[in-house]
Every structure is written in structure tokens, then in C-alpha cells.
Amino acid sequence: MIWQFDTLILLLLLVAAVVSLRLRDLLAASVVFGIYSFLMCLLWAEMAAVDVAFTEAAVGAGVSALFMIATVYQTTRKSSD
């Protein structure tokens, strides 16, 4: 565990979380949410939990981001709140 990497990834994680919540464009928000998942994956890998990191990369960053994009495509792109 290298604390410089840790700090950088955690900071980016915070930025990604806040941005994905604040964005009005839901398509962009789901892409940022995929970035959030990928950063989580980096964090798991960096903490030597490689199996979890692998699952996070495949499920979180890969498939569930696509599920959200498909849902946005079928509903509405602009957030109402």
C-alpha cells in the first residue's frame, strides 16, 4: 500500500462521487459512475484484494454502467431535480 497512490485515488473517488450526484445530464452521470467504479477497482487492487478488484472492474465499471446507460436511453436524459 503506497499512501501517495491511496490519497490520489481517494481524492479522485470523492470528486467522481460528487460529480455523478451533481450532474443534471443522466447519461454523463452514469459514465462518471462507471469512473467511480473503476477507481474503486484500483483501490481494491492496491489493497491486494485482487479478486474483489476483478469483480468490481467486470461488474461495476463494465456491465452496470452499461445497464444504467440502457435505462437512461429508455427513460429520460435530463434529471428533474
Binding site: 476483478f54 467486470a58 456491465v63 452499461l66 445497464f67 440502457a70 429508455q74
Partner: protein, 253 residues
């Protein structure tokens, strides 16, 4: 109301941060996860019991086999629930999308289509590697299954849903989803029939020729991982197909 919510979030966050103080340090040798009797048994005996170097795989599919079996049924149930909520039969709903969603750049279709066609075969090969090599490296049934499912999703996104539905039609992916759970539970039942406990893969040494109890456990793990992968991959595609077409399964994204 807004400030009340902020207050609640801040207080909860402060309490959680306060709780972090009691956690063991990262990688501490005397943390409960390293010192407990059960985790220590898993880490020290995974090679001796099942000849599987990756303790995560042994724990997931052998020591904690029941958990993984019901996790697989949870994945299957999720697919069935999405089907029950979204799927509609017949009747065109006549939907029209707002203009902002119309996908521009149709002239790039040939580039995207060709690139993804070239990518799909390596992705599926990699998925099989992840599935089969889960004993020795990170990976296993869930990850391999998700990657196989992702290759079908790539085909649906890059070309269209119809093309992947001709390769994996609806009746087939739900049959496959159930088959995976049945493979898992069937291996468990086979162990029961051979006179051992449910999911005690050592029983498989009576049916697999020239295999000791340890290797029987290793092969049993591979068998249930294959079941998990079949369920996960087909249910991932089922969920995507229903989500991206509002359950009409005609043409998606």
C-alpha cells in the same frame, strides 16, 4: 428539510469516522481476519485440502459452497424479477425518443461494428481463461461469466440487439440461467448420492477415474464455477435485453 438532511449525513459520517479508530491497522498480523481460527485454517490448508493455491476460490466454492450456490440463485432470481417487471408481449407501445437521445454519428457504424466484431472473440477466450484459471489466479465463475455476458452486450451495443438475440434467443438464455443453478445443485446432490454430505466434493473421487480426494475437490470447484458462469452470463444478457428495450426485445440501443 435540506439542513436536517445535511445534519443527519454529517452526524452519521462523524460516527462512522469515529468507528474507524477501532479498526485494526492495514495488514496487521493480529487483526481478527488473520488471527481467527477459521480464516487461519482456510489460508493454511487450501493447498492440502483441495490443491488450489488461490484461497479465495477454495473459500468461495468449497468451504463456503452453500453461500455461493444461493448467490447464484439470487442472480437467477434477479433475472426472473426483471423479466416479470419489464417484459411485455405483443402490442407495439409506439414509443418515441426525445431528440437529445437520438444517436448521431451513424456514419461511424462500420468502424464501431468491425472493431467490436474483432474484439468479441478475444474477450470470450479471455473469459474462458478467467473461468478455468480461477484456481491459480484471481477470477472464477462470477468474473468469467460477467465477461462472457459483456461480450454479448458489446455485440448488442455496437451492432444491435437483434443480432445478439439471434445468437442467444430468449428461451435459450433463461434455460441456460436455470441450467447453471442446476449444475451447481446437481453436483451437490451427486455428492449426497455418493454417500457424502451435500457439496462435499470429495465424493466425486468415486466417479472421476484416477483422482484422489484432494483433486476431486479441485475438480468439483471447477464444476460449480462453470455452473455459476453459465447462469451469470446468460442473466446479464437477459437483464440488458429487457432494460434496453423496455421488455419488448425487438430492437435496443
Amino acid at each position: 428539510m435540506r439542513f436536517l438532511g445535511l445534519f443527519a449525513v454529517l452526524v452519521t459520517g462523524a460516527l462512522l469516522l469515529y468507528g474507524v479508530k477501532d479498526f485494526p491497522h492495514y495488514g496487521a498480523a493480529d487483526s481478527p481476519a488473520n488471527e481467527g481460527v477459521v480464516p487461519r485454517y482456510y489460508m493454511e490448508n487450501t493447498m492440502k485440502d483441495a490443491r488450489v493455491p488461490n484461497a479465495v476460490t477454495t473459500t468461495l466454492a468449497d468451504y463456503r459452497g452453500y453461500d455461493t450456490m444461493f448467490e447464484t440463485s439470487v442472480v437467477f432470481t434477479a433475472g426472473v424479477a426483471i423479466f416479470a417487471i419489464l417484459r411485455v408481449f405483443g402490442g407495439d407501445r409506439n414509443r418515441h425518443h426525445p431528440d437529445s437521445l437520438r444517436i448521431r454519428g451513424d456514419q461511424f457504424r462500420i468502424i464501431v461494428g468491425t472493431t467490436s466484431r474483432l474484439l468479441i472473440a478475444p474477450i470470450q477466450l479471455f473469459a474462458l481463461y478467467v473461468l478455468a484459471h480461477g484456481h491459480h489466479s484471481p477470477g472464477g465463475g462470477f468474473q468469467g461469466g460477467v465477461i462472457i455476458g459483456a461480450s454479448f452486450l458489446l455485440l448488442s451495443v455496437a451492432r444491435n440487439l437483434g443480432e445478439s438475440l439471434t445468437r442467444l434467443p430468449e428461451h435459450r438464455f433463461f434455460t441456460l440461467g436455470a441450467t447453471g443453478v442446476l449444475i451447481y445443485a446437481g453436483i451437490g446432490l451427486l455428492c449426497l448420492l455418493l454417500g457424502h454430505h451435500f457439496l462435499d466434493y470429495r465424493a466425486l473421487q468415486h466417479v472421476l477415474p484416477g483422482v484422489g480426494p484432494e483433486m476431486a475437490r479441485s475438480h468439483g470447484i471447477l464444476g460449480v464455477e462453470i455452473g455459476v458462469a453459465i447462469t451469470v452470463s446468460s442473466i446479464m444478457f437477459a437483464i440488458y435485453a429487457n432494460l434496453s428495450t423496455r421488455g419488448e426485445l425487438k430492437k435496443g440501443l
